[in-house]
Symmetry: C2
Subunit: 231 residues, 2 copies
Amino acid sequence: MIRPVPSRRQAIADDLRHQISTGHFQAGERLPSEAQLAARYKVSTPTLRSALALLEGEGLVEKIHGSGNFVRHPLHRITYVGGAATSPIAPLQATVRTTIVQAHGHLPALLNIPPLSPVTEVLYITHEGKSPHSLARIYVPRDFAPADSSLPEELAARSTPLGPPLAEVQERLSARLPTQEEATTLRISTSLAILSLTRVTTDVTGRVVEAALLVLPGDRADALFTTSLMA
Amino acid sequence: MIRPVPSRRQAIADDLRHQISTGHFQAGERLPSEAQLAARYKVSTPTLRSALALLEGEGLVEKIHGSGNFVRHPLHRITYVGGAATSPIAPLQATVRTTIVQAHGHLPALLNIPPLSPVTEVLYITHEGKSPHSLARIYVPRDFAPADSSLPEELAARSTPLGPPLAEVQERLSARLPTQEEATTLRISTSLAILSLTRVTTDVTGRVVEAALLVLPGDRADALFTTSLMA
DNA sequence: GAGTGGTCTAGACCACGAG
DNA sequence: TCGTGGTCTAGACCACTCA
């Protein structure tokens, strides 16, 4: 109805998608060069590249400048479970980096602290095999984490905090395209939609204990929220 | 570090974005034609179009084939509040269409009913002014809505259902690009990320009372979940 | 250095919208 | 009909990777 005229781009993308799903091109395999594919489909290189861009946006193909276009290994879909104060994505291996930074940008408002206050930043990059999977930045006001040598695992898993008991978790989600930096870190296309999740945990005194900024690529992650309606 | 070579596309997109944000181009206004802009920036039309595509993906510009590129009116950001069994986005005017269809695709599994069972489909398109704002498809098994003339408002607002009391709401969110159909309906670019939300409401007998599929464009909608941790 | 993808050009031709 | 955007061509030239 809407598209009675399938464009060459779409036709080529559909054909390549089919060949990938039927195993004609195996996961991890390099596709023929863009010049070869352009010749095979009898189109110019810009047209062929625009077809590849569609597959890239679906997370099926990874382009590596100078080496080629590769069929991506299908990643297991992970589910972020909302409503808990604990760590985001547990069962995966992760790269962790902890630094102390000054709160800037949205952070002071999120954490309800003065600008440039010291905060502990914990950067998680979860992996599946060698592929990066998701990205998390967790911020804790410095006065909540007094021990300089506190392990990141402590911060993430502290279900029994030292301070007042936790009261509330607020999670705000939106969809957007990744920044150039996020795309590079996660090795995804800048045209692959991501789920952006901001989680703020508050204790009973109303103080913000932790703010977490999660980036979940849409091709491999969901967020799940379950609410009981029992009165 | 990562992009020491700003491309023409980016430079032009940045400049146009700046001119839009400073009011040099007013909301609703038509931009100069692509040929004129290409001449002004001394680039070819494909390059200029790729710059416009970036702004389109950010929801700043709407292309209308045959008439021109228009600066979009900034839409109010709406927040979907999770964890309730009631209607999705209340305070906006909406177009509603109710039909009876046979359950297909994911629906039978979602609703936990046999394939091809009759279900009532309610299609909402919320608007702000003349612009479509978000899309919702709500499915109710036919045996839960026996009255043929039941108004859609009834279905959406039934906080006191006739059957067993409601027990649980499960909401699954993901980010993706819109389908061609969704993009057309919402008049957004196919490169504007959307938040896709699937909500399943269950009653105390374990039966699925309602499934809702929501499409929330990322440039104008958030989803918010608040969880109390009080034991 | 050979081969790959990344960007860009200067057009051609088609499809759509409004008068 | 005319001006608009939509698609596509057939290259050129640059940047990156790897042997």
